[in-house]
């Protein structure tokens, strides 16, 4: 017991003395959350549209108004013809262009479909998809309103015949992009910092040659590991609390699920990530490399394969399978479920199970690594 306390205390001292690292560990997640939470917006805005209007009638002007109605899109350049428009797109001056052919109004009033051309810069595929969707949506709504107006004026029924879709949005009623990003962001930030912090601690001993002294002392593997791990978990908990408070109070993300369950999941996640860091630290006897590998091992997969940036369903089957190996995947599912949906164990038990498994396996691996170096 005393051995454990001694190790625990020593590790705490290490942490507290490395002021820069400690400050970074506590402030970083918070700062990054603020930065990305506000900066990353999934909703389309500030879109600059290039316009070629061969028709120049009230109808064509009305069309442009419809598209720009919600303020997300605005006309920034008007050019004379399609060639000029393509030049604009080539040079990246605008990313989307509208060409209204002559006769647009005429065709519409005749009750016939009037084609218009949308040119979009596909190099930025994510933007293109969003912008097109947005334009399409605006057009649809605009036209539906128009038709309703015309019908009403002509004395027709108040509501048009046909299917009217009544959408009720669940969990994220305002379709707030930030609410979607934040839980995922928390997962990504935490795992990276957790692994980075711990990956240094054993390797540091190796590099400073104090590992000999520790190995000689009659401390068992698990005790050594636990003693080293707990202080970092403490730091991790501090990180989680700051970040969650920011999420709730600054961004207004609701926590609809059980706080207790969320805390348990978070502890499992932290413990697992830190055990991973410890294991790497023990395996690679150099802080620098341990840090690098832990970055690579945790950051990339967490960012890319966990469902944070890209939906897992869209991925190549092999990568979907691989994503099962990434704890961030489970944690993100849990955080999104618990923050926004208010779901509990009934639904999330597979993810919880996976977290427990990950945590246990990592701790076991880290311990066995220590044991093998002790013998």
């Amino acid at each position: 017991m005393t051995a454990f306390l001694a190790i625990f205390y020593k590790e705490c001292l290490h942490i507290v003395r490395d002021r820069r690292a400690l400050a970074a560990a506590l402030l970083l997640p918070f700062v990054q959350l603020m930065l990305f939470g506000f900066a990353i917006q999934l909703d389309v805005r500030n879109v600059e549209l290039g316009l070629v209007d061969h028709d120049r009638t009230p109808a064509s002007r009305a069309l442009v108004e419809q598209i720009c109605a919600d303020g997300a899109i605005r006309v920034s350049r008007r050019v004379a013809d399609e060639d000029a428009m393509e030049t604009l797109l080539d040079r990246g001056i605008v990313r989307i262009g509208l060409v209204i052919p002559a006769g647009f109004e005429h065709r519409r009033h005749a009750g016939v479909d009037a084609p218009i051309q949308l040119l979009v810069d596909g190099a930025d595929a994510s933007f293109a998809g969003q912008a097109l969707g947005h334009v399409g949506g605006s057009l649809q709504h605009g036209m539906a309103n128009e038709i309703r107006q015309t019908v009403r004026v002509a004395g027709g029924p108040e509501r048009l015949p046909g299917i009217h879709l009544r959408t009720r949005v669940l969990y994220n009623e305002a379709l707030n992009g930030t609410w979607f990003i934040i839980p995922g962001l928390i997962a990504v930030l935490l795992v990276m910092l957790a692994a980075m912090l711990t990956s240094q601690c054993v390797a540091r001993e190796y590099e400073e040659d104090t590992i000999e002294q520790i190995l000689i002392s009659p401390v068992s593997g698990p005790v050594l590991m636990l003693g080293k791990l707990l202080p970092y978990i403490g730091v991790g908990v501090a990180q989680v609390i700051t970040v969650t408070m920011a999420a709730v109070f600054v961004f207004g993300v609701p926590i609809r699920g059980s706080l207790v369950l969320l805390s348990i999941a978070t502890l499992l996640y932290l413990a697992g990530a830190m055990a991973l860091g410890l294991m790497l630290s023990a395996v690679l006897k150099s802080q620098q490399v341990a840090l690098q590998i832990s970055l690579v091992a945790t950051m990339l997969p967490s960012l890319l394969l966990s469902g944070f940036l890209f939906p897992i369903e869209n991925m190549h089957p092999i990568l979907q399978a691989l994503s099962w190996l990434i704890p961030a995947r489970y944690y993100i599912a849990i955080t999104r479920g618990m923050f926004l949906k208010g779901t509990g164990l009934a639904v999330l038990w597979p993810e919880f199970l996976a977290m427990v498994l990950f945590c246990t396996v990592m701790l076991a691996l880290a311990t066995s690594r220590f044991r093998s170096t002790l013998s």
Binding site: P115, L119, V120, A123, A125, A128, E146, I163, R168, P311
Partner: protein, 372 residues
């Protein structure tokens, strides 16, 4: 005393040997690019399709069945289950088994036949707001089509504006074509910034820097010599990734390779500058790593590698405009997909060069102060 190329070359040669002989650096040099390439090439897909849908059919008519069929038919939706009970839909949405539930009311068929307005509720999982919004548009379009088909034919009071879309440079809007050029940028930035910072700090940590400073080697020669190997390594890796992008992922490269090399060199000014700057702020290697990493991560997320910059609020856009990544990713995408020439790239290249000079300048200044 004049700048001596011989001394600088000696430093560069020494550095290169250090890097190549650090057998633990080697896997990282190769693993990082390959991993990012594979993941971004195969995983990155932001298209909204195959949205999982539950159909609650209270009508149970040929029309309702047809609706379900047509919703399932395209790529937009995958109907996972057709049920009679709302509770099933609720459960599916909570569990994430479905993202959308559409409730076909009793009297759907009748209402359409009588040319009445029929309300069809849809429950939408708003967690992924982007996906949700687009799914909503899809549903509206498909249902509007069904309506039109089932209503007695009538003259439309006014014609619709019918958008024909032409997508330039990436007609199929393949996410991969968008993401993979980003890998070139990220890999180059990560490898060169991180490793250069660490290499410099390592020297200081080991204490061998004193032996260097006492020689006639000038700070400028030292800096240049330390950074030069990373230029070579950076270009080599960028070349590897580009070749992989073209051959393995089929991303077209329509510009000039020479332009790419040139632009990489300009970008390297910034990344190496960041590495050098990071090394002056840190006392240990992991501090250096953290410092560089802290600069890189935000610059990727904010720089337009994943999310369009135009979406961001004004202040974030200003921040983005200060990062070299933002310009370089534009340039690389333009080179790959648009076949842009230097005349088009000039503005971005100039910005990139300006930032690079500033960063390198500040970094060099700080480094000299420290070693003096």
């Amino acid at each position: 005393m004049m700048f001596s190329f011989r001394r600088m070359a000696a430093v560069a040669r020494k550095e290169l040997r250090h890097i190549l002989r650090d057998h633990r650096m080697r896997p990282v040099l190769f693993i990082v690019p390959v991993m990012q390439l594979i993941i971004l090439g195969y995983a990155a897909n932001m298209d909204v399709d195959h949205v999982k849908m539950m159909v609650v059919d209270h009508d149970r008519s040929p029309v309702s069945r047809e609706v379900a069929q047509r919703l399932d038919a395209g790529v937009a939706f995958d109907v996972v289950e057709i049920t009679e009970y709302e509770a099933d839909a609720e459960r599916a949405l909570d569990a994430g088994d479905a993202e959308v539930a559409i409730l076909l009311p009793p009297g759907l068929a009748r209402g359409l036949a009588r040319a009445e307005a029929v309300d069809v509720p849809m429950w939408l999982d708003g967690t992924d707001s982007n996906r949700g919004t687009i799914a909503q548009t899809y549903a509206e379009t498909i249902l509007a089509g069904i309506s039109a088909d089932h209503l007695p034919a009538r003259q439309a009071p006014i014609g619709r504006a019918d958008p024909r879309v032409r997508v330039l440079y990436n007609p199929a809007l393949r996410s991969r074509w968008f993401m993979v050029p980003g890998v070139v940028v990220m890999v180059l930035a990560v490898v060169t910034s991180l490793l250069s910072a660490m290499a410099i700090v390592k020297e200081r940590e080991k204490g061998t820097i004193e032996q260097l400073v006492v020689t006639p080697i000038r700070p400028a020669e030292l800096i240049a010599g330390k950074l030069l190997p990373f230029v070579g390594i950076g270009l080599f890796i960028a070349a590897l990734v580009t070749v992989a992008a073209i051959i393995v992922f089929g991303v077209p490269f329509r510009g000039s390779f020479l332009d790419l090399v040139l632009m990489c060199l300009v970008f390297l000014m910034s990344t190496l500058g960041v590495g050098l700057l990071g090394s002056t702020l840190a006392q240990t290697q992991q501090q250096a790593m953290l410092a560089v990493f802290l600069v890189l991560m935000p610059s990727f997320l904010l720089g337009g590698v994943f999310y369009p910059i135009s979406n961001m609020p004004g202040w974030a856009q200003t921040l983005a405009n200060l990062t070299p990544v933002r310009y370089f990713i534009e340039i690389v995408r333009a080179l790959f997909l648009k076949g842009a020439g230097l005349d088009v790239l000039a503005a971005d290249a100039a910005a990139l060069a300006a930032i690079g000079l500033v960063v390198l300048g500040v970094a060099t200044f700080r480094f000299r102060k420290r070693s003096a």
